[in-house]
Amino acid sequence: MAPEAKTEPTATRQAYGQALVDLGEAHEEVVALDADLAVSTQSMKFGKEYPDRFFNCGAAEAGMMSMACGLAATGKVPYASTFAIFATSRAYDQVRLGIAHNELKVRIGASHGGVSLGEDGASHQMIEDIALMRAMPKMQVVVPADYNQAYRAVIESYEGNDGPMYMRFGRPNTPIVYDDIPETLGSGVDVLREGKDISIFVCGHMVWRALEAAKTLEEEDGIEAEVVNVAIIKPLAGEAVLESLAKTGLAVTAEEHRVVGGLADAVREVAAEQHPVPVFAVGMGDEFGVSGTAEACMEHFGLTASGIIDRAREALVNKPIVSHPPIKRAGW
């Protein structure tokens, strides 16, 4: 299979659909499940190609996750998809005991993550899924930045380890960050732009915005910002985070998610213990989402390039003058 890279803005959920079909062709044990959102999550593509290996559960997410458990326990590799909100908050117990506790190779394809889901509003906008899945023992958490990286993430999810994995995809078409489909996600921490003054750790739909922010910071402030795409939030490649922190001594994180429990806290955990420098966060506070177009929602919550710029400027004012060398610790 020759994966086709996208150049125009494309939704990451489309990569999920395409990669699922390609995996289905290569591996007989790959099966897919959905909960009456197969057109939206794109798993319908797989369903059309491999109807015998596709199970629509109807609007019944909890049951779907337990079915995925049963399928995995019996030798299949299930990809279970629905909106992020229903995959996590609706079916948390089923994912926790049936999938994570059993350390089963189930891949949860969670689409429509964050507030860029748009008009459906608070009831559908999942903004704490990364926190929930990060806290869940054994669960890996992957948040790709664009279509091309998302495609690789899904392919690698099959080849990778046997533990459970949560993958977050988005609804709107999103600008491309990776020119080609990357060979690999590697450690999951990828420096997209080098800089010495401040690190911007970022994931998902915020990555292209962070690149724009870095450009503006250079042009308007003469600041060299380092943009670090964190596609694998758990397990986090702490050394790579530390390396950037040691270089810049200051960080801003940006995510389409609550600042509690998400990427912000993942980075802060590394910083607090090993290289305590200020880590400012762009993300959602103690609040629910709201109805509006995807872009209007992102703007409403400051999840924009200018939101990142403002926070970076605030951080730069507070940058400590003396920076201590990082504490070395083995193992993450």
Partner: protein
């Protein structure tokens, strides 16, 4: 564009307290449908066919069956309406606006930043919403909770709770937890109405996840359970009014058509969650306004 014209007046409130006739309710349902098309044509987002499917049931409830007071939305003795199929919010918003819960012009803000009319009903933003919904399967258990509280407050004989559900609701396990709880707690003041239109997001209910004989399922859970034509206003009103006289939980399985009243989408797959294009909106409004004109003139003829 037709969807930007003023919305027609609903049937004027009855003088002397007479409850609206079946013919008046049919016309009211058309007014609600017209509102929905306009709202979605402007919002360019939302669930039109899901809303049209429920229009007759919602009209029967708001214009005749529900005891409610738009001037006092939190009146303790009111009947409660819970939209478990929260994605059909536009039909409830239309009914609330027509009754003066909030200004009619608010409808045009549907689903936009700054509007109180969220994609799914939000009790903390919109007057007349009892509980926020949007995650399928929750409404029936919420309704049971409301009824338990009403019982504690001595209002079980006065205030009734009507919960409107969908095919998808019937697939969620939680709905059946609610059904069991209502029977277990012998709740007499609850009515579950299933808007059984046999279509969902990914296809027909029969293809996606067959819900089977929903009427028999409710009966097996210990409910009084009937099946009706959900677009026959006589049957809708009769079933709703009967349900509140029973001494046990009551289910009404309403056979409906998604997109009812707009022929381009009625009973057809492929419109779920898709707003009408301007052309479709105009076509829908032409059709609904023709229906309205007919209903109006036959009401006038009967009145004269």
């Amino acid at each position: 564009m037709a969807h930007l014209k003023p919305v027609p007046d609903p049937t004027p409130p009855p003088e002397g307290g007479d409850r609206p006739s079946i013919e008046q309710l049919q016309r009211d349902a058309t007014v609600l449908r017209i509102n929905c098309v306009r709202m979605l044509a402007v919002a360019k987002s939302g669930h039109l066919d899901s809303s049209l499917s429920s229009a007759d049931i919602v009209a029967a409830l708001y214009y005749r069956v529900l005891r409610h007071d738009p001037k006092n939305p939190r009146w303790p003795e009111r009947d409660r309406f819970v939209l478990s199929k929260g994605h059909a919010a536009p039909i409830q918003y239309a009914a609330l606006a027509e009754h003066g819960y909030f200004p009619h012009k608010d409808l045009m803000g549907l689903r936009s930043i700054g509007s109180h009319l969220q994609g799914h009903p939000d009790m903390n933003r919109t007057p007349g919403i009892e509980v926020s919904t949007g995650s399928l399967g929750q409404g029936l258990s919420m309704s049971v909770g409301i009824c338990l509280a009403l019982r504690l407050d001595g209002l079980a004989d006065t205030a009734h709770t009507f919960c409107l559900m969908s095919d998808g609701d019937c697939q969620e396990g939680e709905s059946w937890e609610g059904a069991a709880a209502a029977a277990h707690y012998e709740i007499p003041n609850i009515t579950a109405i299933v808007d059984y239109n046999h279509l969902q997001t990914d296809g027909t209910t029969e293809e996606v996840m067959d819900t089977g004989d929903v009427r028999a399922k409710f009966e097996a859970f210990g409910w009084d359970s009937v099946e009706i034509d959900g677009h026959d206003m006589n049957q809708v009103v009769e079933a709703l009014e009967r349900s509140r006289t029973l001494d046990k939980p009551a289910a009404i399985v309403a056979q409906t058509k998604k997109g009812r009243g707009v022929s381009l989408m009625e009973g057809r797959f492929g419109f779920h969650g898709k707003p009408p294009t301007p052309e479709q909106a105009d076509q829908a409004l032409d059709e609904l306004e023709a229906t309205l004109a007919e209903q109006t003139s036959s009401l006038e003829a009967a009145g004269s």
